[in-house]
Subunit: 441 residues, 3 copies
């Protein structure tokens, strides 16, 4: 970072005054280099998305009570493991292979196979098949993580993991094939860059049906209908989780450029990184200002959810908006959280970490907002996609929740809930030396 | 990591004996590939710098008492959000656009605009404008994070954020324009590679004036002038924060090569990564040995601050020193912390996390040490830069702190400080189930 | 992530049906670009490996009692610092320079020197010497981290760090030279891609000899030989540590391709990332199912160690197996942990965090399993390497432990152990406001 005068100022001045020179000849990226760069982008950005698994684990660990903390940790690491296994066994080809318009093929991804490598040919858009699989795979767990947070503190471990299998093996890939697999919604022009709807709303709808069918935690809503706030046990961990998610989101949205093998894709990725960051910033500040005005106190958990809502909002189209537009999209996301959290309480839907406001509500907003910044998208098509996927996920997830409920049962017994799931299901305590987790409520 | 014999040994032997062959012809990087690599370096390294925001949040969360933990979390995530917004609205162009030598232009960065992309031309040093903006933006929050740590546990939330606006919109970019914007200090030959002075000392000076004007926490210094140590509530989080900072610093210094489009820049970045790591290592070990000798106990928080001081020390010139020299520079940084912390106590300046020793004192040392390793730098020029920026920041930050003090007030009321800022300003507790945070002092 | 239909489906279909076209001409990567990509891979993947230091610190912080938490934090950050220093002063050249077959040269790495840069020549496999040094350096600390976890809560700080010096300066590089330095085991055909044996078993053997010589913690095994479980104080931190290790392992194994300058190396790295992830997933799920069946409860710490064991198992050969094979290799690793933990208890060997099962036992399994997936490896050669390195490390580490024991002493006094090492050796508490750490046992 030595003196930047000449280059930086020249570039900036040109940018402001719109001056561009004549187009000189330049050497372009060769095919193999493009192949490497595309592949490496999948790996680096994909590793950041994998890291979001830790983000959800910490966010949720911080927002549940200490008596359920070890269980939520276990749910998060195991759902990430399961998501990879189901996406390998079923999901990837159901989503991407030989799509008829409505569903892919039921077969495992017998990767890694790299036809380009076999052929010794490297088209500009080429990349290693297993790098693509890796990148798509890490997305799946995100949807499941949203569910784990909303239903924490009362759902039994194994039935929850059973739902994760159904969500990641069936629900996620089938609706995913409609858009990213090239199916009917994609044909219609529906656009969802990195998954405001395909990932975040899908998790959000599944969480919503689950929360309704499962019911609220004991003591959350009392007889007269008043809401009893149940504070999380470890807010710095929740803050850490939000920072992790923020970092991971650069990979989530930035890797969704799906290429790095040309200057155009590098520029697009840069715009995505900048817009992703600024939408989150807008979400934080909006949530802070609104809670200060409405409640005379700034709520840290609202600010954290504001960041997440800003990130979810920009995810449907992080490349096209200007930075200023990205900030506004994030601000609306942050505002949505502040209003949706008490609304859910009013409806007596118990969402432990605020996942439904941050992922479902902001996801719908972000998907519709594509119509503002992308001239090729229309509000009607975007709405069609939101509704179609919403109906599909609500119907299927309701069926799956009910099957689980009336077979193995999904709700922990009242004694177990009172004792805490850590002691009941894991036989241990998350913080055996601090306070009296299991007796505090 | 298969057998490395041939290549590695051949290279190593050549390195040791200084044997280099004749220069054969080789194919060079083409313009578009260089553009992509330069851009991707900004994104990857910039994401690491963003991650430092989490590092400061965890370090400070661990070093404050539990009754102020949620507040410091909120300050850290909101100052990161604000830094991005102000740098977008004002800071970037004030720092880099059309610099007269003393100040840039007051206008928003209406990016992302990529003139190279418009022109279809890719010079070797080219990169996406928004990737550069992203990388410069993530630096701004670092300066503000330093202030939040030093002034924790007694400054009110919104006035603190008001200072963050002034720091990131005015103080940081104006002095930054003097060097990285190509202004007068850069013309004079002052060198600060990644910001020992421009980032770390700026935060440190602002923290110092703030700490003096704000006063010490109640109970820190008693009537007879004795120091009452106030231990942090969660040392593993502080350790985690330090590891995060260490990791993020590879991006901070490594990305400051500002290029990856040539072998020379890749080599420079490698040297920077290696030197950055080893300076931190030197800082840790020096702080440990000194505290063992001086106090017969090794102080974990000193070791953590030793790492940070080592990192700050090498930041002014991480590319030129040999690895051995980098270790020594870091060792001196670690020693500075061990001696500066009790000195501040003696001066009754209350710096909650040791930010002033680690960032300001080590930052001055690192900036002066450039004269040792870089033949183009002189001690006098380096000192001129340190003093000029020091005076500028001290004067401006003092004015801003005093304005805030005599308008909205900056200090929490005595009751609020006793109760803890979490309950007073946020209406919640960071660890509601553990111990009795708010009653412990 | 716009509509992926054409490209993705075309590729996938080709992959499934094995159709590959004729080989067209394509432009290959030029020498300087390959040099940059190889170098950048070392830096990015190396930074991920450095991050594993934080992973071990958090894992171990979460699994010890609160009265020893600050000490384990200090041990982890200082062992990382020491590992870098010794590898610089002695280790690197002892491992890689002028190997006679059994040992390298005793001289410091006077890097960074880049002969390629001096010569202006860039061979396809070339990379910056200091990027290679950086990548090899970050591996060393991993071996030492394994020891710190196993011996926690009773070993004195400085003698432990003394052992770290001997381990990283002598044991690690000498046995490393036998394989990665091109020595006799490599000549024989022994294969260990990223260090199941060279890194993880080496740490594991050192931990095993240390645990035997040091003895168990007071109260772990009572007079009648029954095991008294001593729960860790902070399980979300242990979970975070495992996620960090999982993320860092992409760099550990992926960077061990040692190249990114060709499509072949990019494909190999992609396979490594995918396989590394899936082996960990297999380890988690296997450990969960087995503990549910055997103990009727799912043990979170077993699931975490299952992930680590899966990762260790695939480390000896993460490139060659199919994804399905990688899952199976990881599943066996997870099972090994579940059976080895009670076995160690039966032998009255006190391994605080389960490091010996996860790193030593799974490391042996992974090294032997190379014979299954790699046609060039034989079971006998793999076994020879495992035994040779095992004997070498056991003998040398035993000698070093005994020297330390009978000179400076390695075991904390009984009062110090009861009080906790934090108060005894550091004079502070990790969580001064939560519970009564030092009185809880």
């Amino acid at each position: 970072m030595r003196n930047l005068k000449n280059l930086k100022i020249a570039t900036a001045a040109l940018a402001v005054f719109g001056l561009v020179g004549a187009v000189p000849a330049y050497a372009a990226v060769d095919g193999e280099t493009a192949y490497i760069l595309n592949t490496f982008s999948f790996l680096v950005n994909g590793a950041l998305v994998m890291w979001m698994g830790a983000g959800f684990a910490m966010l949720e660990s911080g927002l549940v009570r200490s008596k359920n903390t070890a269980t939520i940790c276990l749910k998060n690491i195991s759902l990430y493991a399961i998501s990879g296994l189901t996406f390998y066994l079923v999901g990837y080809n159901l989503m991407y292979l030989d799509v008829t318009g409505y569903i892919g093929t039921l077969s495992p991804f017998w990767g890694p196979v790299d036809t380009d490598a076999l052929a010794g040919t490297f088209s500009d858009g080429g990349y290693s098949a297993s790098s693509d699989w890796f990148f798509q795979m890490v997305f799946v767990a995100t949807a499941a993580s949203i569910v784990s947070g909303a239903l924490a503190e009362r759902i039994k471990l194994w039935p929850f993991l059973g739902f994760v299998v159904l969500l990641t093996a069936i629900i996620y890939p089938i609706q995913g094939s409609w858009v990213w697999g090239g199916g009917w919604l994609s044909e219609m022009g529906f656009s969802d860059y990195a998954g405001s709807t395909l990932v975040h709303s899908v998790g959000g709808w599944s969480a919503l049906t689950g929360a309704i069918i499962l019911g609220a935690r004991k003591g959350k809503f009392n007889a007269e209908g008043r809401v009893n706030p149940i504070p999380g046990a470890n807010l710095p961990l929740a803050t850490l989780g939000t920072f992790i998610l923020w970092l991971g989101w650069f990979g989530f949205n930035g890797g969704s450029v799906l290429a790095l093998g040309s200057a155009a894709s590098a520029i697009e990725m840069s715009n995505v990184y900048a817009n992703t960051n600024m939408a989150a910033a807008g979400g934080v500040i909006t949530a802070m200002i609104l809670t200060q005005i409405m409640y005379k106190k700034v709520d840290l958990t609202m600010a954290l959810n504001g960041a997440i809502a800003g990130l979810v909002s920009i995810t449907a189209e992080p490349a096209d908006p200007t930075v200023g537009m990205a900030i506004l999209i994030g601000c609306v996301g942050g505002a949505i959280v502040v209003f949706a959290v008490p609304l859910l309480d009013k409806l007596k839907i118990d969402d432990v970490v605020g996942a439904i406001p941050a992922h479902l509500c902001a996801g719908i907003w972000g998907t519709l907002a594509v119509a503002i910044s992308d001239p090729e998208a229309t509000f009607l098509t975007q709405l069609t996609g939101v509704v179609a996927i919403g109906v599909f996920v609500v119907v299927l997830s309701t069926i799956f929740w009910l099957i689980l409920k009336y077979t193995v049962g999904i709700r922990a017994s009242e004694e177990d809930e009172l004792m805490g799931l850590d002691k009941a299901e894991l036989g241990l305590e998350a913080y055996p030396e601090f306070g009296q987790g299991s007796q505090s409520f």
